[in-house]
Amino acid sequence: MTRYLIWLSIALLFAIASLPSAAQAQSFGVSPAEVTIDGLLPGEEAEFELAIHNHYYAAHTFVLSTSHPWERRPGRADLPDDSWIGFSPQQVEVAANSQAAVRVTLAIPSNQEWSDRDWEVWLGVTPEEKEFLVANCYVRVLVSTGTQAQAGSNIGLIAGIVIAVLLLSYAVYYSRRKAKPEHQS
């Protein structure tokens, strides 16, 4: 195909032209910057809250998502499944110079495979209305799981109680049966 110069009316707007805020500086924040969760057992759930601070002069909607770190803390692996993280709500409108809370839940499936692990996942917060340059803040979440041994012990505890009740019942029955002949004589 013949190569010819095509002038493209790109208007490299790179942004949504209708937005009055397009030329404004972007500024927002999230706290805390880092969350550490220790001893979470497979089958259990942890919950915490993030605060999103909108420093814009207008209300903005912020979207939350999970992301895999470009650089993790030493000894940590990526969280195996992003679906273990839940946001409530997933996106939130924050008034100008104000803040809003988002609840985050982390649920580890009940599987021995996920015991004794150290993971890292990042929670990203970014404005829904994207301009050419987009600011994004990540919260580092460091998760360490415990052992499943405890779940096994719970089963042992229940079994122990059942056996104890049976033995105690037998003891009462035995003592009453022994006592009867004494009354008769």
């Binding site: 500086a25 706290s31 470009w70 033995l167 003891a171 003592s175």
Partner: protein, 184 residues
């Protein structure tokens, strides 16, 4: 009879003993640490758009000024590592693929464009590719950390595809560069 009851009680105790540590350890299993002093991660960018107007094939553009076009400020109370990521450019249903290696000779039948950034203070003319993969922003080949209240400036360079069809003419292009911050 008493001996029998004592024996049974002893047996019960023996059965329950291994379970006691487990039940004791059940209290306060999950520890969530969110640091006593509230930490906030926050960055600001003093630019939002880069308007280039009409562009030809195989042309290179740089922001003006080249190195100090946009200022990033760490407005939080923790030092942050910075990351950068680009996207394919959209023209309605059409695309320009973002180059992974700085070339602009096309991906299959799609036009390919390239983006770079240059951090102020880095050696002159040194540009780093912006790709679809989010990577840590680098200055002098090292990952950058922005201290509290500190600023960093950068500029951009864009290379248009070496060829694009007339289907792209008159259409508006949309793409994004994401600047990310995470606690260092």
């Amino acid at each position: 009879m008493k001996t029998g009851i004592l024996s049974i009680s002893g047996a019960i105790l023996l059965i329950l003993t291994p379970c006691l540590p487990a039940s004791a350890s059940e209290s306060g299993i999950i520890t969530i640490t969110m640091t006593a002093v509230e930490t906030t991660i926050s960055i600001s960018l003093d630019k939002a758009d880069w308007a280039l107007g009409e562009v030809p094939e195989d042309a290179e553009y740089k922001t003006d000024p080249e190195a100090t076009w946009c200022t990033i400020t760490n407005e939080g109370n923790v030092d942050v590592d910075l990351g950068i990521q680009g996207e394919h450019a959209e023209f309605s249903t059409l695309l320009w693929f973002l180059s992974e290696d700085g070339t602009n000779d096309g991906v299959d039948s799609y036009p390919e464009y390239a983006l770079w950034y240059h951090i102020a203070g880095d050696s002159e003319g040194s540009y780093t590719s912006i790709t679809l993969t989010e990577t840590s922003a680098k200055k002098g080949g090292e990952s950058m950390t922005l201290e509290v209240a500190d600023t960093e400036q950068f500029g951009l360079k864009l290379l248009t595809p070496d060829y694009f069809s007339s289907d792209y003419v008159g259409k508006e292009m949309t793409t994004h560069i994401t600047i990310s911050a995470v606690k260092a």
